[in-house]
């Protein structure tokens, strides 16, 4: 992300000296490369205190992350120990204060399904938005468009959630029914009835993983688009002008300069969106009906859908004892998964030539 290029600091604390050295043959004088030398600084008490305090501030971040991992493991261990490997393989989720049976497999599957739907919808549109802002939009509106996309990122997820549940859902169920009727061959779109009235009953399609996926897609779209836009905008102007000068069209410039250059941004932006989608809590909690049967989860158009975060949010208030520990353990799994995804995103964005100065 950030290049550690605080050149100013380096320049301030070191001094560049052009060393003039007399060569062995005595003539002529040769100028040797500039070599920075460290100046021995003796710092006063105030500076030592200042450095100490800033080190402590920096260390707090390290400490906090370590504490988060430690305490999630500590409090969740009771549940993981109780279930053993079953915690990762069982699909039912019925923890009680004293014990019960539970495993995160179904929750993890539901989380992944919602994230995949969200990504499949959001990434192509995000690429389109980013390309439109950097390549096609008239220069005057570029800034306002960027602002609007950023405003989309500033809307609280709770508001997305209630909008999705109340306004979008009554429309979305018709789309779901249409898809299940005419595109049942598509993986996940085949739908068996819950209510026994046949899959034409609209109620079968309420509170589905598909609905949650759409709303989460709207939420990750501005985040992915912002990353991609920044990376696309850094495609070298010289190469773009070269492509145009050779008679290329805008599409030619995009295909041969912008996209190859910004590939890291596309992958990194998508993965950051994925991280966000996996951890999204409140909107999903309002939209899914939290099924733990895998075949319900796999039929994405049908009532069902689930996620780790939504389960924690919905069942937190009435949990105690082992149930609380189970929820914390599920939170730990989510924490680890999002960390892995985001670390991957950071590596990809950093490795791409264009992403060197991208803020993610």
């Amino acid at each position: 992300m950030f290049t550690p290029g605080s050149t100013a600091r380096k320049v301030a604390s070191t001094c560049v000296v052009s060393t003039v050295r007399v060569s062995a043959a005595d003539t002529p004088l040769t100028l040797v490369d500039d070599v920075p030398i460290d100046i021995a600084v003796s710092r006063g008490a105030s500076d030592r205190a200042y450095r100490g305090v800033s080190y402590i501030a920096g260390g707090t971040t390290l400490l906090l992350m370590a504490l988060i991992a430690f305490f999630l493991v500590k409090r969740g261990w009771q549940a993981i120990d109780y279930e053993g490997w079953g915690f990762f393989t069982k699909t039912e989720w019925n923890p009680t204060a004293a014990g019960g049976t539970f495993g995160v497999a179904a929750l993890l599957l539901g989380t992944a399904i919602i994230a995949i739907i969200a990504l499949a919808l959001a990434v192509p549109i995000a690429i389109g938005v980013a390309l439109f802002i950097t390549e096609f939009a008239p220069r005057r509106v570029r800034k306002s468009l960027t602002s609007l996309v950023d405003l989309l990122a500033a809307v609280p997820s709770l508001i997305y959630g209630i909008w999705g549940a109340i306004i979008l859902q009554p429309k979305e169920i018709y789309v779901s029914r249409f898809l299940s009727a005419h595109f049942a061959w598509f993986p996940g779109f085949h739908t068996t009835s819950v209510t026994g009235h046949g899959p034409t009953n609209l109620a079968d399609f309420a509170s589905s993983g598909f609905l949650a996926g759409i709303v989460v897609a709207l939420m990750i779209l501005p985040i992915s688009a912002a990353i991609m836009r920044e990376v696309f905008a850094q495609a070298p102007p010289g190469e773009k002008e070269g492509a145009l000068a050779l008679g290329g069209t805008r599409w030619g410039v995009i295909r041969d300069v912008v996209v190859p250059f910004g590939r890291g941004g596309i992958v990194g932006g998508s993965m950051l969106g994925l991280g966000r989608a996996l951890g999204e809590t409140i909107a999903v909690a309002l939209l899914v009906s939290r099924s733990t049967r895998t075949h319900d989860l796999l039929e994405v158009l049908k009532t069902g859908g689930n996620s780790i975060a939504a389960t924690i949010a919905r069942s937190w208030a009435e949990s105690s004892g082992m149930a609380t520990s189970a929820l914390i353990a599920a939170g730990l799994v989510l924490f680890v998964v999002t960390l892995i995804v985001n670390a991957g995103a950071a590596v990809v964005v950093n490795r791409s030539r264009s992403g060197a100065t991208t803020e993610i």
Binding site: G58, T60, D150, P156, I162, F178, A233, P237, G252
Partner: protein
């Protein structure tokens, strides 16, 4: 979350020095003009032809129904027509370019539709029942049979302001100090701190709530009060403040630091009297962005605060409510679209959205000011 275009601010600084600053497209000297009169005519004609074609399809095929289906069929045929007519006039290269332009422009429009729909829903529905009493009443005597004026969000608004204020009080100094550490002091610790700040900004918000619960509430150090909620929010706010502040500090010209050091001032005085004042507006932006990040957070508050129906101005004792919890509770208790709880919910969402918009506009205005310009 890049709520603010810092690369634009950077351009102000870099451009006068002669570099292109890598800010990209705006540096193109030549803006080729593809979209001339013939192109406009082709697109408009394709749109009309597609409309006629779609109407025909809708008369014949009953598979599709509703406005959405009409729109989809129209759009597909429109792009097809644009491609075919362009190809006949200008060949395949221009036709492909036109096709891509239509697709990309549509994607951008598609992304803005939900934004408009959400804002519209919140404004229309929130305003519909809105009464001034909503801002001054609590839910003490309210039930699902009450009238709208018998309930309100006064206690939740006060709670939100206190909780967010407390969170800011904790994470702003820490975040700015961490940014100072990363940018001004550095050292071997800087790399891992920077990496973990990024990792921290990716923590799912509910995990932050779980952490505070596991550490402090479960061990009975704290009760589920407003302060516990503020602690959870400060974990989410810290990385946002740190990262934005770091970007801003990096924009402070090195020459200013060197001048200060060369005049014999210490590192601390340089930071205090030169670096931080120069970056003042940018640092305020960092704070505003941090607040915008957490003001709508619901999940960590559900875990750490639980919420309340009553007014409680003391965040350190007893349960407290916050706007997000208020909206969430009303959503869970509302049974239908036109009930009083649904109206309270939308009114709460309206107030929350207004707060977010105020913060957003503030961040924009401050962010557009140039960082690092010397003041008289």
């Amino acid at each position: 979350m890049a709520l603010i275009d810092l690369t634009a601010a950077e351009a102000h600084l870099v451009a006068p020095r002669g570099g292109d600053g890598g800010t990209g497209n705006s540096d193109l000297l030549v803006e080729p003009r593809y979209f001339d009169r013939d192109q406009v005519i082709t697109h408009v004609a394709s749109a009309i032809a597609a409309l006629a074609f779609t109407w025909l399809v809708y008369e014949r095929l009953t598979v599709f129904s509703g406005d959405l289906g009409f729109l989809v069929v129209w759009w597909v045929s429109f792009t097809g027509f644009v491609y075919v007519t362009s190809r006949q006039q200008w060949g395949s290269v221009v036709a492909t370019n036109n096709l891509v332009r239509v697709v990309v422009t549509s994607a951008a429009a598609l992304a803005l539709i939900p934004l408009a729909a959400i804002l519209l829903a919140v404004i229309v529905r929130g305003w519909r029942g809105m009464q001034i009493s909503f801002l001054t009443t609590t839910m003490r005597t309210a039930s699902t049979e009450s009238k709208f004026s018998q309930g309100g969000a006064w206690h939740a608004i006060v709670g939100t302001l206190e909780v967010v204020g407390l969170a800011a009080l904790m994470s702003v100094p820490l975040g700015i100090m961490t940014a100072v550490f990363l940018n001004e002091v550095g050292g071997r610790l800087a790399m891992p701190v920077r990496m973990l700040t990024d990792a921290m900004s990716a923590i799912p918000s509910i995990v932050a709530g779980l952490f505070i619960f596991a550490v402090l509430i479960q061990s009975h150090y704290l009760d589920q009060t407003g302060f516990s909620g503020a602690l959870a929010l400060s974990i989410l706010m810290l990385p946002t403040v740190t990262r934005t502040a770091e970007v801003v500090l990096r924009l402070v010209p090195g020459g200013l630091r060197e001048a200060s050091l060369a005049l014999g001032s210490t590192e601390w005085r340089t930071t205090k009297n030169v670096v931080l004042p120069t970056a003042r507006t940018g640092l305020v932006t960092a704070v505003v962005l941090g607040v915008a990040r957490i003001i709508g957070e619901t999940a960590p508050l559900i875990v750490t605060m639980l919420g309340s129906q009553l007014f409680n101005a003391n965040p350190f004792a007893n349960k407290q409510d916050a706007l997000p919890i208020y909206i969430w509770t009303q959503k869970l208790t509302s049974t239908g679209d036109n009930t009083v709880t649904a109206n309270w919910m939308w009114a709460g969402a309206f107030v929350l959205m207004v707060l977010v918009l105020i913060l957003f506009v503030t961040a924009r205005i401050l962010g557009n000011r140039t960082v690092g310009v010397r003041r008289g």
